[in-house]
Amino acid sequence: MPLLETRSVGVALGDVQVLWNASITVEPGEIVCLLGPNGSGKSTLMNSVSRLNRLVSGEIWFDGTAVHSLPPHKVPQLGVSHVLERHRLFPFMTVYENLLIGAGSVTDPAILKQRFERVYTLFPRLKERERQVANSMSGGEQQMCAIGRGLMSDPKLLMVDEPFIGLSPKFREEVTKTIQQLNRDGIAILMIEQNVRQALALSHRSYILKAGQIALTGRSADIAKSPQLEEIFFARKSGATTSVSPASAAH
């Protein structure tokens, strides 16, 4: 049984439907990537799993629970953690406070201590910055803090919306390693990424969205070789370019 399954999900933002018939699955232990051009519905699909928007059709199941009938604040308690786009830390709270709020309703000091230690082992830098206000850190550190905050609820599935956005190459590498590490620790990962090559290299399977529908799906390694990939992102038929090349214009 898949850990997460969306069945024919349709989402409307206000009166405008932006996602149709989206069915995805995430198996335990997988890294799954949602790819697609801007505005194709990646974040909308992810937000629908954490119930931040309204479904017009379809169902969402997580670990045997019907997510589509839950209020948003109940979803994290199932073991779904969502790191929103652009990290969305609480800017005037310290790193420590941001992490603590991520633990949700957990109050047992022993469990909290364990979770803090796990995040600090993963990101030693966060421990150094424990008492620092979140918006005084660099973008990469803030992204780490956001992932750390997502881990504080001890999720089975971590959803990360554009973890690499605005990061330096050094931090990209660090975040990539972290995601792989978390996956080895048994957390399933659903992520959104703009950098297609990097995302395909990191993930096991991918879904490629276009204009609110899933256009292509399969193992990431296969998709990377697929001629359709270019077609989706650049809206051109592979092999048959419509533009005039300088060489032919010269004739």
Partner: protein, 339 residues
Amino acid sequence: MSAPSVNKGLTFAGSPIKLRNIVLFFAGVGILYLIPQFLDGKPFELRLLTVIFLYAVMGQSWNILGGYAGQISIGHAMFFGLGAYTSTIAFLNFGVNPWIGGLLAVAVSALAGVLIGIPCFRLRSHYFVIATLVVAESIFLIFSEWSFVGAAIGLELPIRPSGWENFQFHRNKIPYYYIALTMLVVVTIFVIWMERSKIGFVLKGIRDDEDAVRSLGFSPLRYKLIAMAFSAGILGFCGTFYAQYVLLIEPPTVLFASISVIVALIPIFGGIGTVAGPIIGSVILLTISEYSRVHFSGSGRNVDLLIYGALIMVFAAYCPGGVMSMISSLRARFRKGAV
């Protein structure tokens, strides 16, 4: 500075309150409790301080919802008025002791806050502000017409013998000072606790990023309603205090929009979302208003409003964080200069 350990008390408080600050707080409170000894025969000063404490409490309670949770209300007079009317009606119609009436006022105002909050919290930012204004105005109009609550004439509390059991003091008004001061101390300690508790952090989270709070597994509506209940309940007791102090309540003095404005203005001026802000705001604004009232007497009744207006403009332009942010930026500059 040594690297902090994984955390000590596992509370939401980032750092424990410094012992020095605790000592200063209680020393200050102690001095305030002694002041009435020197105010014999100075009714104006006594009244000024009593009113400052009362409005500081009102500012604190507004700040819970407006400052910490970021839900700006311009309708808080309704909770003040509902509190005043609750204890007064309970006393006039059922002979309920005003102290118990005060507790009833807390319950009624808190309940009203929750009932009003459920629909109004569906609205965000300025739409919420307008909704609170409209609800408060409707309650003002209803109470101005409703004969059971005295309509526009209001309700007069019968004079009872002075004494703690009657919550009435006639010749010697010092007990009102003690009651108002005690309210301020209790509410301030409550706000300090709340600010450092999980509730406080979730409220601040809602102010900064409501969707992020929701995605972390908290129901923003539930926490806003908690903040509203605290905020409205405290104002309810303030209403009872006012009724017992003035012994006459009428819609224009306890339910009117000007009270909503001053209650919001005090913490905004002093420093929104800070513990000291409402106290500083109340000291400065009420001192101005009481002295200008005396100085300009009848002809200058609204001079205080002119001064408020000017102050708001100056602060909005140069110091939107209020007096507290001015103090902290001055401190930062001083520290830099010292190094």
